[in-house]
Symmetry: C2
Subunit: 120 residues, 2 copies
């Protein structure tokens, strides 16, 4: 995303998390570390390229950690750092909003609006 201009904290945060995938990636790392292909399976829409790029960006921001186990074949695990744990709250709140949103739109799609009185 393009550089921020005002230095507003919301702007800065969205600059780092505003993409399509980053917060989603973080959300999958909250519970336990995940491997590269594990993340790919969890996000069928993402390409390896973007997954790699976003993981690198989050790593460079110090929010996630990349651990390589020198086995054969190699095993790479991604996990939240201490700093990254600061995103747990963000993930939780966004998820809560997303849940409400999905539910609300389901109602709309079903043709049942909020006001039952009108549908009598």
């Amino acid at each position: 995303m393009k550089k921020t201009v005002t230095g507003c904290s919301v702007e800065e945060a969205m600059h780092l998390l505003g993409g399509r995938w980053r917060l989603l990636i973080v959300s999958y790392l909250v519970d336990e570390p995940k491997r590269f292909n594990e993340l790919r399976r969890l996000m069928p829409g993402i390409s390896q390229r973007m997954l790699t790029l976003d993981l690198r960006a989050l790593e460079q921001a110090g929010l996630i950690r990349r651990t390589v186990y020198p086995t054969v074949p190699v095993k790479v695990e991604y996990s939240l750092t201490g700093d990254g744990r600061r995103l747990e709250k963000v993930v939780a709140v966004v998820k809560e909003f997303g849940l409400w949103l999905k539910d609300r739109d389901k109602q709309v799609l079903a043709g049942r609006e909020v006001s039952p009185a009108l549908t009598v």
Copy 2:
């Protein structure tokens, strides 16, 4: 942003809020309604075009309300709807994270790392 695939709530939420400006716009509407050019002044980086598009998108999502006062010249106010109020928590948490982030990066830029013991 492109359509979501998994229906994950985080993904849905980011689909609606993931752009560069939308959550920032909402953050400015939390306290009190704002006029069009007022928002422009608050966000020097945004173009009229994007401001209009994002306002329309948020309006269509039922999160903000557009009120036109038929004065001369016209006065248009944007405010959060009841549904939009559900974003207050999101804004607060994201802002808190952004603040922490900015502060952390300021430390890094100043060359003072977290561990004083090492710098003795």
